[in-house]
Symmetry: C2
Subunit: 615 residues, 2 copies
């Protein structure tokens, strides 16, 4: 039997369809709805599709329902056009659920295509003359709904439940399928109930989104700090802690327990039940990914920093002790490398970089900054070890972006800052450090090496008003942001010479990563047409400050767009669409990972990029 | 990509091969050895195959190595001939392991085609410039051995063991695969070690065969009484006992414990290790099948007697708590109906009824007699409830075919019998009851209704000498086999009027089943060209006696052949060949099951067949 590849757009749902079957059948096979008003008899002309590639001559039915112009544009009827070659198809009929997810202001369209299918069926009643097994009757009921009963499989656990369920339900059942595996059977018609949760598991924070898998509707958002923090604040310390089986198990249990708790919280908020959750998707950095799965991340922590597995995985919820429906499956997005994880794959899935005509730079800035540069032609990525400065750690008055943190600073006529939650400040977070240092650069109060000018050397007209904020701290100059009387704790808040040094190392690492990716790709800064900032920090920073300090090349300031928690968005898309989830593997494996440590001139490039540009 | 069906014979190994690949590649794909002396370069001319269907014109390489006659006969080189259509191929090259299993005197040839493949591989060493994940490197090493790395899958349990194993083994590993699933990894090269066990799980007895999966060699045979007997002697009483979860669990545990014990015994006998067993195959009647899997057999026990599942199943050994290699898989043969089980499928697989040109009758006689009638054109089967007479139960002096049982009786010049184990008898078993009653029929000492003639009515010349063996027992005549002085327990052993009645019911049920199958198929007795007797009783009975009493139609006496424990043979074939195991599903589903209870004239036919033919 000959088969062809059929791709449905928008988004990317790819299936192999048997030759000479109709597009309608292929849509059914792809799980793209079954809303064909006339039942596919060529009577209503509603099942319109646009054949973008692989169009064939229309048949009479199509000529009757479509105008000449439509036919010329490749518009056909799904019930009439048969598949004779590889095809790319856009579905135009209204009954097929196309879904949009907002990435801040941009829309990301895709088809909802459930991983698990639920079908309400009625199995036949056995008799002495019709003595098929329970499983056979179940298969036949599913075959009547378009499944190939030769390939249907049942795990033993399902077969053990089958005889009682089929009889108690009086042959009225809902089957839960993953591809051709019947994972669950439920009494009566429960096909309308199908929830899922998308998770973005970060080193610091875990965010979960409860979605209705049928409609795509978001029902609740929940988040928690990652309880693994008790065993180590960053990725490296957790890898160390997971160095033995007990440590690995503690970390694995900590994160799965947290996920279970979030699931409980989400269904509580939405007034739903745990058992109605059939699918979970997960985006995470590579170490969080491994710990969530109970896989040792040791190899990520030592050169050459390889992961155990990158490929996207489907794991049963029970293997991970997730308390959801017993048929529940977990869809784990693919990693790209040891320090470019499934969270980056999720960002790429959300942003569709692989379809972009123009070169785009994507930054997810944190302790490890993930940097991706590419277009539909080629994509490269690296991880830059920025250190903790952006998260406010190892900064004299640094703190996380929590209540009490100065988050933004401006140097207009006078120094102004905003405090998260209002009131007097308790410290500064990464975004404020960026603003502060950017201001000092623009005011020429520090030199290109980041060193404070002596107060008597400050000549820039707009700087003079801030000169008296220069104070001595531990034998060097510092810039006073808030005096002891203006702070929550009664101690002054300042940006010290050391803080600037820390920021230089951090921004230098990211900037050097960007430079290396450009060089690797044979591109110049000018070739980059768009910069997307993902993640919490990227969403919070002032793009102008980032460009002034050289975290992002200055030439790109007007091309910056914030895309929020794009990893979470990618996880949601992967949860709602099986095609998109499997597309993530293609996306991830198409990315060329560049190990900065093995790039010959990295140290020079890094050193250059710790400087500030003052011209 | 176009695909075609390629079938390798003898036996039946069926694969789907991509168009334009060579037969050699298809042989590799099918797991049929890789012994191509010149590496498939068309130099040696050794890789001969005979294309039985779908032959194409030879290419120059083939013309150089093969004679004109060979070419005309369809002989080709596997490395040269490409696949452009569906093909049936016989492999002639010596390096490809064809295996014969003896079914008593007949050979049953098939190819060994392991379910699980073991491949010794060396994974690459990761470096800063080559930073692929452990799993990716494993996949690539397997891809170099011909696997499609896009379809390879790893269960979570494998991924959790992977990083440690890959490093401890210093990249020298043996991978254990089932299709495209990597189920196990072992340090170093263990590819030569691959054992399996085939089980025939009967209601009374469990037999296990330890086989070398690479060579097909039988290493040990073990057996035990089915310990489920403590909860009920027959299928019906066990179904009743399994009526609640505790009972089901006790029965399930009893049989799996017994199987585990037999595995230990077999590896002990052969001096091998449990962990070297990777595959187990199972043939069993439907109830034993369900209990082994922990599936409730309730529905088998009540009308319309349907099973929960018939289809052949692959289950992990760990799900069944079988203590073998952690990658171990259990291959459970398909059932046909509630009372025609996987043991019958195994018999059909062993006997290749589906390839038979002539009509064959297969009988597996026991408490439930399974009867199959068919040929390559059509096969029907039924189950006849014979009751326990054949097993010696409910017979006045009846006993199992154990030590002390009279097993055969002859009425030559004088009455002679043999006793199992020698010495004085303790009772009679089924085969002796058959001989005894057959003798009484031939001597006309009973009438067509099975009633003893009054001694004074006995006129048959050869009967006169046995007349004085007629004694009175419980108000009716009985035939004395051994007087009190000649028996082990000092009580007389006889065949009573009631025993004859029991045998009539038993043989009537089987004979009626045969008649119904003949009628259903539109066949006459004369159309049957061969009668195969399977199972312990069938192997033990005297075919002449069986024909005299009408258990088997008299016309067929010369066509009877004993095939021993053909269910065990089928289980062995299914263990050694994945293609044959999957073929069993086709075989089983092609059998039309006839429910005798719903056959309108069954009672009449049954009553007629309880009689004896005296002419």
């Amino acid at each position: 039997m000959q088969e062809f590849t059929v791709i449905f757009q928008p988004g990317t749902i790819k299936i192999r369809a048997a030759a000479e079957t109709t597009i309608m059948k292929a849509m059914n096979q792809a799980g793209l709805g079954t809303d064909f008003p006339c039942g596919g008899r060529g009577k209503c002309g509603k099942c319109r599709v646009k054949v973008l590639e692989g169009v064939s001559d229309p048949i009479a039915t199509e000529q009757a329902h479509l105008t000449r112009q439509e036919l010329e544009e490749g518009i056909r009827l799904a019930c009439a056009t048969k598949i004779y070659r590889d095809m790319v198809i856009e579905i135009l009929s209204p009954g097929h659920l196309q879904h949009n997810i907002l990435i801040n202001s941009a829309e990301r369209p895709f088809y909802i295509q459930a991983h698990l299918k639920k079908l309400f069926i009625e199995t036949s009643q056995p008799s002495l003359s019709e003595h098929k097994s329970d499983w056979q009757r179940l298969k036949e009921a599913l075959a009547a709904r378009g499944f190939n009963d030769n390939t249907l499989q049942a795990p033993l656990s399902l077969l053990r439940r089958l005889p009682e369920t089929i009889r108690q339900s009086q042959n009225r059942l809902t089957a839960v399928l993953l591809d051709s595996k019947v994972l669950g059977i439920e009494q009566g018609d429960t096909s309308a109930v199908m929830l899922g949760m998308a998770f973005d598991i970060g080193t610091t924070t875990i965010v979960g989104y409860l979605l209705d898998l049928n409609s795509g509707k978001e029902l609740a958002v929940v988040s928690t700090l990652n309880p693994q923090a008790q065993y180590g604040g960053d990725v490296i310390s957790r890898i160390t802690f997971a160095g033995n089986a007990e440590g690995l198990d503690l970390l694995h249990k900590a994160v799965t327990d947290a996920v279970n708790k979030l699931i409980g919280e989400a269904v509580g908020k939405a007034g739903r039940k745990r058992k109605d959750i059939y699918a979970v998707s997960v985006a995470a950095n590579t170490t969080m990914h491994h710990l969530f799965l109970g896989i040792s991340p040791q190899s990520i922590g030592v050169s050459p920093y390889v992961s155990v597995v990158n490929q996207g995985l489907v794991v049963t919820a029970s293997e991970l002790r997730l308390d959801i429906n017993e048929a529940g499956q977990v869809f784990v997005l693919p990693n790209i490398a040891g320090f470019v994880g499934a969270d980056t794959s999720a960002v790429l899935l959300a942003t569709e970089l692989e379809k972009s005509e123009h070169v785009t730079l994507i930054l997810d800035i944190g302790t490890n900054g993930e940097i991706v540069l590419g277009s539909k032609h080629k994509t490269v990525a690296c991880s830059a070890a920025a250190g903790p400065a952006f998260e406010g750690a190892q900064i004299t008055n640094g703190m996380r972006g929590a209540i009490g943190a100065i988050d933004h600073i401006s140097f207009a006529d006078r120094l102004e800052f905003t405090v998260i939650g209002g009131g007097n400040p308790a410290g500064i977070c990464g975004s404020a450090l960026l603003d502060g240092v950017a201001g000092l650069v623009e005011l020429r109060m520090i030199n290109k090496r980041g060193k404070f000018l002596e107060p008597d050397k400050i000549t820039h007209p707009q700087s003079l008003r801030f000169k008296d904020r220069l104070i001595q701290y531990e034998g060097a100059w510092a810039f006073l942001l808030a005096d002891s009387g203006e702070t929550l704790h009664g101690r002054p808040i300042m940006i010290t010479q050391n803080d600037i040094r820390e920021l230089q190392l951090a921004k230098g690492a990211i900037a050097a990563g960007v430079r290396v990716l450009l060089k690797t790709s044979g591109l110049e800064v000018e070739d980059v047409k768009e910069v997307l900032l993902a993640g919490a920090f990227g969403n919070y920073l002032n793009p102008h400050s980032a460009c002034v300090i050289g975290l992002i090349p200055r030439e790109l300031e007007d091309k910056i767009r914030m895309i929020g928690n794009a990893a979470g968005t990618g996880a949601k898309i992967a949860l709602l669409s099986a095609g998109e989830f499997s597309q993530a593997d293609d996306i991830a494996s198409a990315v060329s990972f560049v190990e900065l440590g093995s790039y010959s001139k990295f140290n020079t490039i890094f050193a250059e990029n710790t400087y500030f540009k003052l011209d």
